[in-house]
Amino acid sequence: MEIEFKAMLDDLDVLEKSLSNPAPIHKLRSHVENLAALSKCNPHRRSKVKELSSEVVDSNPYSRLMALQRMGIVENYERIREFSVAIVGIGGVGSVAAEMLTRCGIGRLLLYDYDTVELANMNRLFFRPDQVGMTKTDAAVQTLAEINPDVVLESFTMNITTVQGFETFTSSLKNKSFCPSKEGSGVDLVLSCVDNYEARMAVNQACNELCQTWMESGVSEDAVSGHIQLLVPGETACFACAPPLVVASGIDERTLKREGVCAASLPTTMGVVAGLLVQNSLKFLLNFGEVSPYLGYNSLKDFFPTMKMRPNPQCSNVACLERQKEYMLGEPARDAAAKAKMEADALTAVDDTPLHDDNEWNISVVDDENEKDTTKASSSSDTLPEGLTRELPVADDYEKEIAIGSGEAEEEDDLEDLKKQLEALNAA
């Protein structure tokens, strides 16, 4: 490009000499010089930083984030560089969530999607028209790496609901090379930003098996409401325990239409849900505020319901039941730890400054025994409080029936035989 501009200027020199009125040539020359200057200023790319600085200067990309510490919101913001977050589904919500976490300086992002960017995606944020045709993962990595080169980006272009995809998915979650000292899996949080029931069930399965905390997000097919939900295997309801939309609106989750067939979408609702999701993630990771177990968003009425969902003791997911059992077993230890912590807190509080110098009215705090009893009673899941009855029978008797009915006839069947029978039918 530079050579071309130089040649052009040389030609202009020759022209200028041969002409009687050089004024238009002067004008032309100044245009060419401007263009040459413009072509030289490459897009500026910052280099990686060693550690986050809280210095308040315009050139520090983290000064506004580190100020959270000075304001007393976050105790140690720099910890964000140790965290890995996996985002499944890089669509309207996932891509924006990825950008938010990237701008926050998250340590590592794992991105999963198998779709490509289409012009029909342009009513949402993040992707640009010039990225049409690229895989969503490639396009996201391109943009995110430019925004913040400090973030380690790993992308996986695959469908996690297939056998092979699921294996790659779980092994990538288990990979601890980024932070070998971390307990549990290799990631701190999984964010599900997918648009269909099958993929949510696959994320649920993986997280239940790995005992991995995750957050689910969704936007309704009419684009005017959404939700986020925290799922801690064993402790809160898993996705198979109670699909959130059934709870929220009585709609059967499985009947939801996906984007591409007839669903609507808005950049606003998607942006709000992504914001809620990442805010909850930051609170969870950096340990500030209260992490919402469920947060709904109804944009027509600006209604934000919250609730907590306990796991379903009759959940159809085997891994979920195992996690529930483990959680129950850990209950005494957790209670003891909580009590010890409370006592320690009380002690230090007493040691530091006595709350009151005198106690003129002999006021003392008494343990609330009754309250303790009621919480104990409700924690055993099978007993219902007085006055309540189950609408449906406790278990599906059908499974037992089958166990009795089968057994004898099954032995003689051979898989290969059956295969051949079908092939014979296919050939006929």
């Binding site: 779709d115 609901t161 297939t162 056998v163 699921f166 029931y197 099958e198 069930m201 696959a202 399965q205 198979a240 059967d252 499985r254 009947t255 939801l256 239409k257 996906r258 591409g260 067939v261 007839c262 159809s316 997911n317 499974e399 089958i402 009915g405 089968s406 099954e410 069947d413 898989l415 059956l418 295969k419 029978q421 079908l422 092939e423 039918l425 296919n426 006929a428």
Partner: protein, 174 residues
């Protein structure tokens, strides 16, 4: 099952139900499930043939039985339209149904997700969910794919989106 034609209903009642709730990651239980899948597919294919309503071929294309490929066809105005049929068994199977794909007509109809996955959301997914784990591949074909073909192929042919292979060949020659 309201709204289904009596023919489909009576066919459905004669496809053997499955019993084992197992997915491709469940080892021996999956083998058992696979046997049941074969049995119900064999019964359904035989039934179709004896009723002169043969309309698909499907077989497992890997030893684990997690990927299936074949053909399906639909007769409209006395012409036979044939399509490749393929699908994977999802890891959450049978809690979630297989996503049936007709890759050749990907992008030709709105009733399809990317990659040629036919839209089963309204007419089939709720039924599948209610009948888990008793429904299998044969039921997905009978209640998912068959009505989809019956609804979509006439529209696609009449609107010119798909052409019969003889027409396509002759128009290419001329």
């Amino acid at each position: 099952m309201e709204g289904w034609d009596p023919n489909t209903k009576s066919t459905l009642t004669r496809i053997p139900l499955l019993a084992t709730k197992a997915g491709p990651r469940d080892g021996d239980a999956w083998k058992q499930r696979l046997k049941e899948e074969y049995k119900s597919l064999i019964a359904y294919t035989q039934m179709n043939k004896s009723n002169d309503n043969d309309w698909f071929r499907i077989s497992a294309s890997n030893p684990e039985g997690t990927r299936w490929t074949g053909k399906c066809w639909y007769v409209h105005n006395l012409l036979k339209y044939e399509f490749d049929l393929q699908f994977d068994i999802p890891i959450t199977y049978p809690a979630t149904a297989p996503e049936l794909e007709l890759p050749e007509i990907d992008g030709k109809t709105q009733k399809m997700y990317r990659g040629g996955k036919i839209c089963l959301t309204v007419h089939f997914k709720p039924l599948w969910a209610k009948n888990c784990p008793r429904f299998g591949i044969a039921h997905a074909l009978c209640l998912g794919l068959a009505p989809w073909l019956a609804a979509e192929i006439p529209i696609l042919v009449d609107s010119g989106m798909i052409k019969h292979k003889d027409d396509a060949a002759s128009s290419a020659e001329s």
